[in-house]
Symmetry: C2
Subunit: 907 residues, 2 copies
């Protein structure tokens, strides 16, 4: 049987359904699902994502089976709609839209009103009796088709759209201001002029044949899968290019047939704060694109309730049905054509992190979903938003009182951001590259702006609603956003913002503070402060019972912890960091770097003296000075950690990192420790390495200078003894870095265990401890079975493991990584998320081999990947005992771990 490439939906029956997203895309699957649950969906069909892949695999040609399947489906649409595509008297009009597995709003192309030509136009006029509407549709169609299919684009970034140029010329000629004022004749002429321009610029005739229009549009939408915006968006959102997009061909309904028609988008709950209310916007006499594009500021749903109570009631029912059916907060698009409601789209609604948690918790209470489902509903990265900074209320009030409140817009992306103003993506990206904090200010954003949005801390627009491009993308990126702030008079040319009645002129580079939770835009710098949850957990300035958001958070996190198998530890080496991490739910320290303790205060001088020593005796003398500092550090950490395991890594970085490099500092140091400048320079020179990452560091230091390992273990064990004597529990795990074979391990382990015995004897106390190793050199993973004979635990150091497995120095990758991204040579940045194929294989091997010799070996990860959700999922699959990440990532890691467990259980 031939592959089924086309799936029909219409009249309450569809061939697809909601769980066929990978084949039909999100939109297609949901159109089918809505059809199946008897929502009023205009009939149509979906061309599968497989066609997209086939199209690209086969030099942009369609599989030959597609033609007949498409024609058959088209016939069904004609039958269901009672009109015919291209029929001069009773023409069917179609829309062609993209629809990928994951939502990529605005990234790909759409063509509407297919089927119009000089003949069908007349039939449609006769049918609708609305000449102006028909010619408006016609000119829109020609314009869209000319742009999307025939590729007539602005010649450079300074030219405005060629079609808009013609429209502007026509307006001038007709002396009118707005599109609304065009007559039917004007619009008819515009369509003709567009066609002539297309012919002139592209050399091709605009196709009159509706079938040619259809194939052209389908091809163009597939091609838009590979446009620049889509590529960048996929990269930012980790969407694989292999997923492809589906194409939805659907019969047109019109929100722009006059005042009895309209169109809107809505969420079944508030996507910003999660409140259980019908939340959305609509425009009368408009097509859907008008709402999403943000060119006209739409009205809230509450207005619709008053204006069109019947339709509103119908929509309220749809809202309830959808939540009951999908068990989720949904994002819908609807059109009213002559007071008849059509559903054009429905999908899970994007929401802020806080809304996400609140909706999940509320839905459990409403018995719409289970606790497990709730956990799976919140994206771990979104949880991070709950920890984002807010402005101090008093400081903000003070600013408002002193007249610094510039304007108030929509609270489209929660959080507080303060930065320098830039007016386009290019400047924003550059400023970000210079290290500045950026607020991107745009009249409205378009998909072309996503690079700039990604580089900015906050986004501020003067046009567009809560569902505008700016708002949607900002929420998804976790950016602060104030949208539709209509008071702002933004001048791109002068690069200024003015507000009527306000004295300020904000210029490029000036500071603005925007509050995405309230919509306030404030002149100058405002200190951002911790979120409510941070105030409760970290600052302890807010009582838990006083905070609604904390209450949602803590309810949610209780469920998270209930379903998680992986333990979460933290990477911390200061007592206050450790305290924060515990507040965030950390269950131990996975990586305590001892070298951070080497800096600061007098100790760095002793460290330098140690490095400059030319004999073991000299080094021992200097180390004796460092010992009390290290012991104190560990003592404090052990106290804070209250018996939770603390994994301490022995000295890792190359010694030259501790030496001064400037002339001035060298002179000072020479004086201080009584040596001469040349000697320090000589040592610096001797310590210089061609590839320091692969040089004298890690356990290699402890092997060359066993006295360092000895001092460090003594500090650890003496601290342990001291804290135990205070009546507290202590559980140190000493971790040896950069091990490549078991002999290195034994060498260092021997020193550590000997020191432990000595300290226990001296202090007349016994304590438990473990000695283990990082697995961060490929060879260590390979011979893990041998190392596990001696090492009691492994902790994967995936930063270095990735560098060595890829042969890529992270510090030097900037020179070629942009080329790799541009050419899509890497699915994903391996330093961000574990490369499961390469690095992951070594990890898997190490786990298997390690367990072969030591079945109960303790396994964890302490590379930065330990806080990244996909990597956490992978670690869960590997069966590690814990992941370790920075304190602020702990909640994210807890959630990711719970989701990993639940997803595994589902399979």
């Amino acid at each position: 049987m031939a592959t089924k490439y086309v799936y029909y939906f219409g009249k309450g029956k569809a061939e697809g359904k909601a769980d066929m997203k990978s084949l039909l895309g999100g939109k297609g699957a949901n159109l089918a699902e809505m059809t199946n649950i008897k929502l009023p969906v205009p009939p149509g069909f979906t061309i599968t994502t497989e066609v997209c892949n086939a199209y690209y695999a086969n030099k942009k040609k369609f599989p030959k089976e597609l033609k007949k399947q498409l024609e058959d489906a088209l016939k069904k649409v004609e039958k269901d709609m009672g009109c015919k595509f291209g029929d001069p008297l009773n023409p069917l009009l179609l829309s062609v839209r993209s629809g990928a597995r994951a939502s990529m709003p605005g990234m790909m192309d759409t063509v509407l009103n297919l089927g119009l030509n000089d003949t069908t136009v007349k039939g449609l006029i006769a049918k609708t009796g609305n000449e102006r509407f028909v010619y408006d549709s016609y000119r829109r169609f020609v314009q869209m088709y000319g742009d999307v299919v025939m590729d007539l684009k602005p010649k450079d970034k300074h030219q405005i759209d060629p079609f808009e140029e013609i429209i502007e010329a026509k307006k001038k000629k007709r002396k009118i201001e707005s599109d609304i004022d065009f007559s039917a004749q004007d619009l008819k002429e515009l369509a003709e002029e567009f066609k002539l321009e297309i012919k002139k610029e592209t050399g091709m005739n605009f196709p009159d044949d509706p079938m040619e229009q259809l194939w052209g549009s389908v091809g163009a939408v597939f091609r838009s899968w590979m446009n620049d915006r889509a590529i960048v968006y996929r990269k930012l959102n980790n969407i694989p290019v292999e997923w492809g997009t589906a194409v939805n061909v659907q019969s047109m309904v019109f929100g722009n047939l006059g005042d009895t028609s309209g169109t809107g988008v809505a969420f079944t709950r508030n996507p910003s704060n999660g409140e259980n209310e019908f939340y959305g916007e609509y425009l009368m006499n408009a097509q859907g694109e008008d709402v999403v594009a943000g060119t006209r500021t739409p009205l809230p749903m509450s207005e619709l309730k008053k204006a069109k109570p019947k339709i509103y009631k119908q929509l309220e029912q749809v809202r309830k049905n959808l939540e009951k059916h999908y068990h989720d907060m949904m994002d819908i698009e609807f059109t009213m054509q002559d007071e008849v409601l059509y559903m054009l789209q429905c999908r899970a609604g994007k929401r802020t992190g806080y809304a996400s948690v609140r909706i999940a918790v509320d839905m459990v209470k409403e018995k719409l979903i289970s606790e497990k489902e709730a956990v799976l509903r919140v994206d771990p990265e979104q949880l991070n938003q709950l920890l984002r900074p807010i402005f101090s209320l008093t400081e903000k009030q003070e600013a408002v009182r002193s007249g610094k409140l510039l304007a108030t817009g929509l609270n489209a992306g929660p959080g507080a951001a303060c930065g320098k103003v830039y007016f386009n993506s290019f400047d924003a990206v550059n400023a970000h590259a210079r290290g500045e904090t950026v607020i991107l200010v745009r009249i409205e954003t378009s998909p072309e702006d996503i690079r700039g949005m990604s580089a900015s801390e906050g986004i501020l627009t003067s046009r567009g609603g809560m569902t505008s491009h700016a708002a949607l993308v900002a929420r998804q990126m976790g950016k602060v956003c104030v949208a539709g702030c209509g008071q702002l008079d933004i001048d791109y040319l002068l690069k200024t913002i003015k507000v009527k009645g306000k004295p300020h002129i904000i210029k490029e580079g000036d500071f603005l503070s925007i509050d995405g939770s309230t919509g306030e835009v404030i002149v100058g710098k405002l200190q951002a402060k911790p979120s409510e949850i941070l105030q409760v957990l970290v600052d302890k300035t807010l009582k838990p019972e006083k905070s609604k958001s904390y209450s949602y958070y803590s309810t949610f996190m209780k469920w998270v912890d209930k379903y998680r198998r992986l333990k979460i530890r933290t990477n911390a080496d200061q007592p206050d960091q450790c305290e924060n991490a515990i507040a965030f739910g950390a269950e131990g320290i996975g990586l305590c770097r001892t070298e951070h303790m080497f800096f600061g205060g007098d100790r760095i001088n002793a460290v330098r003296e140690m490095i400059l020593a030319y004999s073991t005796e000299g080094r021992k003398k200097a180390l004796a000075k460092i010992l009390p500092y290290q012991r104190k550090d560990f003592t404090e950490i052990f106290r804070v950690m209250k018996g939770l395991p603390v994994t301490i890594r022995t000295l890792d970085p190359p010694l030259h990192e501790f030496l001064p490099h400037t002339e001035n500092e060298i002179t000072k140091l020479a004086e201080l420790i009584g040596t001469n400048v040349d000697e320090i320079k000589y040592k610096l020179n001797a310590l210089h390495e061609f590839n320091p990452m692969l040089g004298h560091r890690g356990c290699r230091l402890g092997i060359s200078f066993p006295e360092i390992t000895e001092m460090q273990s003594r500090a650890i064990f003496e601290a342990a003894a001291a804290v135990i004597k205070e009546g507290k529990k202590v559980y140190p795990e000493i971790m040896i870095p950069l091990i490549g074979n078991e002999k290195e391990f034994i060498e260092q382990e021997t020193i550590i265990r000997r020191t432990a015995e000595e300290v226990m004897k001296e202090k007349k106390i016994r304590f438990k401890y473990k000695v283990g190793t990082m697995i961060e050199i490929p060879r260590a993973a390979i011979v893990a079975d041998k190392i596990a004979k001696y090492a009691e635990f492994f902790s994967f150091g995936t930063n270095d493991l990735t560098q060595m497995t890829f042969g890529i120095s992270r510090d030097d990758a900037a020179s070629f990584m942009p080329d790799y991204r541009e050419k899509e040579l890497l699915n994903r940045d391996p330093f961000e998320s574990i490369d499961t194929e390469g690095v992951g294989m070594l990890m898997e091997w190490a786990v298997r081999k390690g367990r072969e010799t030591r079945p109960d070996i303790k396994l964890g990860i302490c590379g930065e990947h330990g806080g990244e959700p996909d990597s956490i999922t992978f670690c869960d699959q590997l069966g590690l005992e814990y992941v370790s990440c920075s304190p602020f990532r702990v909640p994210v890691a807890r959630l990711a771990a719970a989701r990993a467990s639940l997803n595994k259980a589902k399979k």
Copy 2:
């Protein structure tokens, strides 16, 4: 049953045999074998290597079963010898010697004359009637036991031996010059004084109890397995510490009973040139140690034939029997006691590379061994000696005529060496580290000197024969050696060499030229020139039929090629290198580095212009200038290679390597290419990398600058087309470096294949070529299955693969590798021989995965390991198609490959 730890031999019957070397050590196995073939071996027993391992595993205690087994064996010895250990009237004396699996001459300890004490001494005097001999044996025994077992050593390196000090004092007191002049009474006193000194210095009494002497000696010999010399020797010779040593306890026979006694060492053929003659040395009235230590210069075997014709005839028979029995050239030790011959040791004789080849070829002709056995008889590294330089005959004759011949010694290690003179190991090692070529000059060498010997090009001694320590070790290390050059008056204190009747005073740092093939020592520098084989193969200045050594070589290499499976390629990028390689038997180029071609002449300027260009256009302009050069290079190489495969690697090193770094050069370059100095400096700065090995290099260059790959492939293919048009065959294989995933490969492959098509079209010609990749990044090995979908061949770049797998930068390893060696943390330098456990596992994986997707994938290696015998064996096991090495290593690789095949077949 209890483990058998003791193996008896004596009276024509032994419990062991020759093939039990791993258990009994070489000496023990051969003593057993000689006993079995009825040679006159003094009875004794061997304590196995397992006891050595057990001893070290169990805190230097013996397994408890050993005691009874040893006592039983001792009883048998007593029975066979008809005397008793410790019997006051008829005492048995014993020797205790080490004997490892592989010969480690002089590295471990020996104790002779056990069983003597104040009581047995009297019995022995009565028995032998030779009071002086007995007391001499006694004082020797006390001296040896005191040194070896009771550890009375020189206090520091300036003190001479404490026993020698006593001897010297006694000589002074007795006003005599030589040991020979001591009376029996003197010797008796010496023994007493030695005992007093031992007591004074060690606090312990010298043991009178023979059994205590025996156990003490056995333990000391086992302990000597871990002495410094032994550790260094094992490292140099890749002998695993786990092998352990056996200990041989044997009844003493005496070569020092007077003029009817003597001792000697001999080879069944000439170990220097392989000639089939009885070759050796002996000393009358001496113990074996006196010959080996080189303290007295012995007489050649031809003298023995005259002096003791009966013994000589017996020995001639032994020689024949041994070669017939062992099918090899043997090294024997014998003692004559009162005109009775005893065989003390026999083992395969060490020989020079040339002797090795010649003996192997001769023995095939003599039908003693088969061709296959012949191939297995020659160590690949030894073959290298045949290619070692020799002095020009005319130049040497000229030097001799002009009075520069300082002296002539024994031709103990063939080859010609010229270098600066140093008088001790310490200075030699330092000079070597400074980059100097060193001739180590010693009166005689001892095991303490091996570090210095290893650092020297040539070794010159004034004492000792062809079997002296210097000669043996030099031959094994493949060093040039002139030994026993008695005319030399070497003064360690002044660091000078004088020769009676010669005007020269050679001081430290002066140049000497020594000819290890003739024994000549010449003042000043002599140009070394290619060996005969090189003269035939490379210089073509010698007709093959005129050279005996070439004739042996070529006969041997024909057999080598007959039994080898692996193909041997070469790493070469100059036409003359390629020609040499073909002469050495290379069957293709495994690695042609294109970057070497980037230097030299005008081309480097074009390369620099390309690097400094800021646009693709600028780069293309500069590349167009490089193209003709590269094309010419490839054209010449293809011509020379006559259709043999040529693997060309696209540009690999980081670009900054091509830029000038000195102020002066930068200024010149700026003028030349019309840019300014700052711009070059800016670029240099921009190209700086923290870890260049893991930076912008390899295919990453071609990905960032596809125009480079395009130019290089065009040059290759245009050259191919040109040479094909000359009527010759061409077979290019283009190799992409530093691939980490298949997408990178596809990207570069596409450019190469497109260029190939273009060139074929332009030149109206078709040619075959392959596109493949290096496997040098761990990740590439891991995902080899995916890469093999596109790559037609893999070539293992084991240099980088080792660096990344170990996380060790070869350039930076010097700072910690000495510590690793000292602490024995690496079995072997992984940059010298493939680390089969770690790197090898990745190679194995890559081979398996690569074949999964492409069963006929071509596999090779082009890292430096490709010329190292053990690595070649590993590559043969992996089933690679070829190894590639530098031209001069090709013969070695051919032999190693043949041996690998034969050894595999044996299993």
